[in-house]
Amino acid sequence: MTTRLRILDDGAWLSVDDSRRVSVSELWRLDAPGFCECDLADMVVENFLETGVDGRTVQVRVYGQCIVCGTKSTTGWIPVGRIVDGEFVDIDREGVLRVTDDKEEAKSSG
């Protein structure tokens, strides 16, 4: 089964199978040494840039700002959900999210 992943409306949200799943304005704690100098970045999501998958994990790259140090930048790949039995299930984004820099391209159908 193919899962349709898209970034829409000027990067405002992530669409999974034509449903809005993750939106800008969320605040994420990131383990992302490459993003800023903070031990953990505390980042406002301002724009989604790309989406992709790693196995069953749905990941995104976003533009955001660390509200501790003020760094504004683009992130590596951040896990936001998993595909379980064909359905999107949120990853708890209140916890620390680990960022990786390499990722296979998004698999989407349109």
């Binding site: 898209r6 034509d18 304005s25 969320e26 989407s108 349109g110």
Partner: protein
């Protein structure tokens, strides 16, 4: 590789979307196939329908494009009646109530909570009265803006209204220009005040004189590639072209076609023509236009009147069109302040009555979200100004009411990070009660935008506020970045972002302290914009001194995570079902 959006557009786009829209309206929202929703919602934009944000599934924002902000006699009443009958949803706004219309920064009108099943009836009613939502959103020619009092303004160099009407009639529904790489915003201004705000549009025609065969002829200089969105603000670039009024359509169509053929269709973030102008430079844009898109010799630029611009410049006369102004024909236009551009449906209908009673029935909209009643004879002026409605929509408002602009915000918009309109109302009311500007400062523009899309044009205000987040006492709260000193004019300037992430409840205090510093440290007669210009960012950051006051903000939490921020139970779990097709 083309984007999904480009693929959808290549399958169905433009005028033909209407028949599908009507089919879904008749058969019901639920009949839009699950795996086609993203595609159809993208396409519906072309007909002015924008799916509201997460939690409000099945409800739409409807944008009505009113070229140059002109509402002909009778049209405002139609807008009021549609708002009253159809723009009611499950959420009640604590300030504005159940049904209202929003006047936008591009002289259009937005209604909310529109149900798909009502669209055919709404279209029928609008079209019967010459109104349309066609191309109000989507990747095509958007509502054309300009000086709203074109044809009536005493400061006019040339009447731009016939030019705008012609462009609107030519390019609305024109299949050759209906599928562009991205939106296409055009401004045509004929007045010497700069009120068309051409500098922030994709394509701008500005009044200019050119000597043709020994005679000074009035026409337009052309600028291309302005825009504010996505942290990439640009002022439109001068491409060294003057055009006579009868050739405007040829040059505008040529540039639209140049954009259609050369804009980036593989990356929507890079698609606006401002990026093409960055890449090519103004000279190459001109050469390509001349060589491939027009069949006559272009003139070089003429003598402009930019030195006379006052609109939204932060100093001088007529920074907006609020107040009583004499028209060319001896009658008057009266600019009324509509705080954050939102007007209750009852008030819209009452204003339509007053416009008929005292004027010609015509009403016009400005880019500062205000409304202008035109054609009021001098003999009727005093009685009009005594009307109760004008106590609320005043032609002589407090500078803080007058200068406030706000975008839609998290109430309805997917992009926004914070609540905006109601917040800006609360800010303006608090500032009016608690802060005094120096006596000679009559205007002070504060623009609040919920995100970097910049629909409230934050970069061209005295004070720019932009949605952000921060933590306060460990809790995530809505916050605003503060920018200062932006404005248009002969030498336009974007605001400098000097203070970041001020918790929203400390913003009024920050502005009070900033204005106190300005009052104390300004030179005699100095404008706020000039004051900002002679200080560095660090000094300005010191002036913006965030502080808690007696201002209380009831929307500190993440309003985006609610289904509707003002609902008693605002959690996503309490969101209403998509409306049934009754």
């Amino acid at each position: 590789m083309p984007t999904d959006v480009e693929n959808w557009k290549s399958e169905v786009y433009g005028n033909e979307i209407r028949e599908h829209l009507f089919r879904f309206a008749e058969e019901g929202f639920e009949t839009i196939p699950d795996d086609e929703r993203d595609a159809w919602f993208e396409r519906f934009k072309w007909w002015g329908l924008y799916h509201q944000r997460n939690g409000q599934e099945g409800y739409f924002m409807m944008r009505i494009g009113t070229p140059n902000g002109v509402l002909e006699p009778g049209q405002l009443r139609v807008v009021g009646e549609i708002a009253d009958e159809y723009a009611r949803g499950p959420g009640t706004n604590p300030i504005f109530g159940d049904a209202y219309a929003d006047y936008t920064t591009r002289q259009a009108i937005q209604l909310h909570w529109i149900e798909l099943s009502d669209v055919p009836d709404i279209f029928e009613k609008m079209e019967k009265h010459g109104l349309t939502t066609q191309q109000a959103c989507g990747d095509s020619w958007r509502n054309i803006v300009g000086n709203p009092v074109a044809g009536k303004d005493g400061q006019e160099v040339i009447d731009a209204w016939p030019v705008i009407r012609d462009l609107n009639e030519t390019f609305k529904g024109d299949e050759d220009h209906s599928n562009l790489p991205r939106k296409w915003k055009v401004s045509v201004t004929g007045s010497a005040d700069g009120s068309g705000q051409g500098d922030i549009n994709d394509l701008a025609f500005e009044p200019a004189y050119k000597e043709i065969e020994g005679e000074d002829v009035v026409g337009f200089n052309v600028r291309v590639g302005g825009g504010l969105a996505r942290n990439e603000p640009r002022f439109a670039r001068d491409i060294d072209v003057w055009v006579s009024p009868d050739r405007v359509s040829d040059v505008a169509g040529g540039l639209s076609a140049l954009f259609r053929d050369n804009g980036d269709r593989e990356d929507r973030y890079n698609a606006r023509i401002k990026f093409l102008v960055d890449e090519w430079g103004a000279e190459e844009v001109r050469e390509t236009l001349q060589d491939e898109y027009v069949d006559f010799e272009l003139h070089t630029a003429g003598r402009d009147v930019r030195e006379e611009y006052t609109y939204n410049t932060g100093e001088g006369e007529r920074n907006d069109l609020v107040g009583v102004h004499e028209q060319r024909d001896g009658k008057y236009f009266v600019g009324l302040n509509v705080l954050v551009g939102r007007m209750g449906a009852d008030d819209v209908l009452e204003l339509a009555d007053l416009a008929e009673e005292y004027g010609s029935g015509e009403v016009r909209l400005s880019q500062r979200q205000n409304v202008i009643v035109t054609d009021v004879p001098e003999s009727e002026l005093d009685d009009f100004l005594e009307e109760d409605l004008l106590e609320h929509y005043s032609p002589e408002p407090s500078p803080f009411m007058r200068g406030s602009i706000a975008c839609t915000g998290t109430e309805f918009c997917s992009l926004s990070i914070v609540e905006t309109k109601n917040r800006q109302v609360r800010f303006a009311r608090w500032l009016k009660e608690n802060v005094d500007l120096p006596e000679d400062v009559e205007e002070f523009h504060i623009h609040l935008s919920g995100c970097t899309a910049s629909c409230a044009q934050p970069q061209i205000a005295d004070v720019s506020l932009r949605g952000m987040k921060t933590r306060k006492d460990g809790e995530a709260v809505e916050a605003l970045d503060v920018g200062l000193g932006g404005g248009l004019g002969d030498e336009p300037q974007f605001a400098r972002w000097v203070t970041q992430r001020v918790p929203v409840d400390e913003v009024p205090g920050a502005l009070a302290n900033l204005i106190d510093s300005f009052a104390e440290a300004r030179e005699a007669g100095e404008s706020f914009r000039a004051f900002v210009a002679r200080h560095d960012d660090e000094e300005l950051d010191e002036f913006v001194d965030p502080e808690e006051t007696d201002y209380e903000d009831p929307m500190m939490h993440n309003t985006k995570m609610t289904w509707y921020p003002y609902a008693e139970d605002d959690s996503m779990d309490a969101k209403p079902p998509a409306p049934a097709d009754d």
